[in-house]
């Protein structure tokens, strides 16, 4: 276990200390050190977007707390849900008087805790709506797409809902575009190596020296195909073949693409992968409006990558193009 850490049990709290020390103008803790909000929270008159989940996925979740993105986050242990109480604390600190959107990935631990937080918030007369991200096509069949787990497509949801909230739209509008972004997003990933949760000290799963797993979840949940490691081009083809017919993305559609690295895979490889994805999208008659390549949702030091596509219309393009700024993601 080659990690730059101290006590594995203190990993998350020390990471948070480091983040707050590095970005004091942009982020602050609340009474609960695991509940972090924008430094200027609460922004009065603005719908507050709250998110959260387990640690180990930076920039997900905390990294998307910022202007044009989310307002607050509750931070769990590595790959584990934060508590309802922490989410409530983040909610109280971020609520700007006009309601909250809980926007996060579809994991039952998070759902149960955030639903409890929402019920507690309701007792304080705070209106909370929830939108779950469920973009991973590998995790459930098409007709059950809302049962799928949330992966890198979270980024699109934050970007879209965050831009809408920043424009001072009301909660219903923010919910509407968040749902729209989620419904129009499809993702799938491939893993080449597992990662090690510091407190556990053992790999999350095992994979042969020349194997890869297509459809792997961001905590190492099993995927749809395990086989020999293939070329970047072949991986790109597999990912596109799974994603494109699923929505479906159709000839003439405009899309935003995201090639995401899981942690250990170099940016160079992500671009080699995107090269083939781009060729395929063009061949399929899809217009690529914008492309993001980098680490947007990781699994510690897992090697691998994922592809996400968002089908956009004029409204989504406007929201995707809006500026955003957090210590982890800046767009002008």
């Amino acid at each position: 276990m080659k990690k730059i850490i101290n006590d594995p049990m203190a990993f998350v709290d020390e990471m948070l200390e480091g983040i707050l020390a590095a970005h004091p103008k942009q982020l602050r803790a609340t009474r609960d050190p695991r509940a972090i909000v924008r430094a200027d929270a609460p922004v009065q008159g603005k719908v507050a977007i709250l998110t959260g989940g387990g640690s180990g996925h930076l920039p997900v979740f905390l990294g998307y707390v910022g202007v044009g993105l989310a307002d607050g986050v509750s931070v769990g242990n590595v790959f584990s849900s934060p508590s309802a109480e922490t989410m409530l604390e983040a909610t109280l600190a971020a609520h700007g008087g006009v309601g909250c959107l809980y926007l996060y990935g579809n994991y039952s631990g998070d759902i149960f805790n955030f639903d409890m937080a929402a019920e507690m918030a309701a007792l304080e007369d705070i209106r909370v709506e929830t939108v779950l991200v469920s973009d991973d096509v590998a995790s459930a069949p098409r007709e059950n797409w809302q049962k799928r787990r949330g992966v890198a497509g979270l980024f699109f949801a934050y970007k879209v809902a965050g831009a809408m909230a920043e424009s001072r739209a009301d909660l219903d509008e923010v919910v509407r575009v968040a749902k729209k972004a989620v419904a129009q997003t499809r993702s799938m990933g491939v893993a080449l190596t597992p990662c090690i949760v510091p407190a556990a000290g053992v790999p999350t799963f095992t994979l042969g020296e020349d194997e890869m797993e297509i459809g792997m979840g961001i905590h190492g949940e099993a995927g749809v195909h395990r086989g020999p490691l293939e070329s970047a081009d072949r991986i790109a083809e597999r990912l596109c073949q799974a994603i494109i017919p699923d929505l479906p993305f159709e000839r003439g559609d405009t899309v935003v693409a995201l090639v995401n690295g899981s942690g250990a895979t170099p940016l160079e490889e992500l671009y080699v992968l995107y090269r083939r994805v781009h060729q395929i999208l063009q061949a399929e008659g899809l217009r690529v409006y914008r492309t993001y390549v980098g680490e947007y949702a990781t699994s510690l030091e897992m090697a691998g990558a994922s592809l996400s596509l968002l089908k956009v219309d004029d409204e989504l393009i406007r929201l995707i193009d809006a500026p955003a700024c957090s210590p982890f993601f800046v767009q002008m």
Binding site: G76, F79, S80, S81, P82, S83, A84, E85, T86, Y107, S108, G109, F112, N113, D115, M116, S139, A140, K147, R148, R149, A199, A200, T204, G217, H219, G220, E221, A222
Partner: protein, 212 residues
């Protein structure tokens, strides 16, 4: 052998359940690793340790508070699917003992039913989905039946444990239909549900306390 559980008994029973489940953490971790993400072991260890740490401050408080705060303590330190459902069960059970001085079998049956309702509402799952409900629902039904037959508290809980055990084993051939395990539903057949196992172990520990 107890006929009913006083406030002191509730504290002691919770402590006994906590220590029993901590001792079974590795078993639960393995089951969860086979069909989920393997975090249920650490959830048990951390969650029940948090409960044990909380108990001293709960001495002298009323039963409802003891139950509610134990559940909250668990989930605060070990938030998770199981943690949230455990906290929900404890909060609902707490409501069912408001004003009660000693828990007899009918009260325990009411608590169990309240817990079942809470888990159902929170998790939107039902019997047959391969969850803790497969152990909890039959146990609650058995408690209600035993309460109607006016058997002793110990006998009622003994029957509930048997029902939970049967429900737990019934999960083995099931396919997961909710939660993380549902993403690889096929592969879950043949493995006993870890959450149902935890419910059985908790009831068994309660029976040990009552029958001691």
């Amino acid at each position: 052998m107890k006929d009913s559980l006083t406030q002191g008994d509730v504290l002691a029973a919770i402590a006994h359940i906590a220590r029993s489940l901590m001792a079974s953490a590795e078993t639960l971790r393995e089951l969860d690793a086979a069909i989920g993400d393997g975090d249920l072991g650490i959830t048990m260890t951390v969650g029940f340790q948090a409960v044990l740490d909380e108990l001293p401050s709960l001495e002298g408080q009323d039963m409802a508070n003891i139950l509610m705060k134990s559940g909250m303590a668990f989930n605060r330190k070990a938030a998770s699917t199981f943690g949230a459902l455990f906290a929900t069960m404890m909060m609902r059970a707490a409501r069912a003992v408001r004003g009660v001085q000693a828990i007899d079998l009918p009260t325990l049956a009411a608590m169990a039913q309240a817990a079942v309702d809470g888990v159902r509402e929170r998790g939107k799952a039902d019997v047959g989905d391969k969850t803790m409900l497969d152990a909890l629902v039959p146990a609650a039904l058995e408690l209600a039946k035993a309460a109607g037959e006016e058997v002793s508290l110990a006998e009622g809980v003994r029957r509930a444990v048997a029902a939970a055990e049967e429900g737990m084993r019934a999960t083995i051939p099931m396919k997961s239909r909710v939660g993380r395990a549902s993403w690889f539903a096929e592969r879950t057949q043949g493995v006993q549900d870890p959450g149902a196992t935890a419910i059985y172990l908790m009831l068994k520990a309660l029976y040990e306390y009552i029958s001691a």
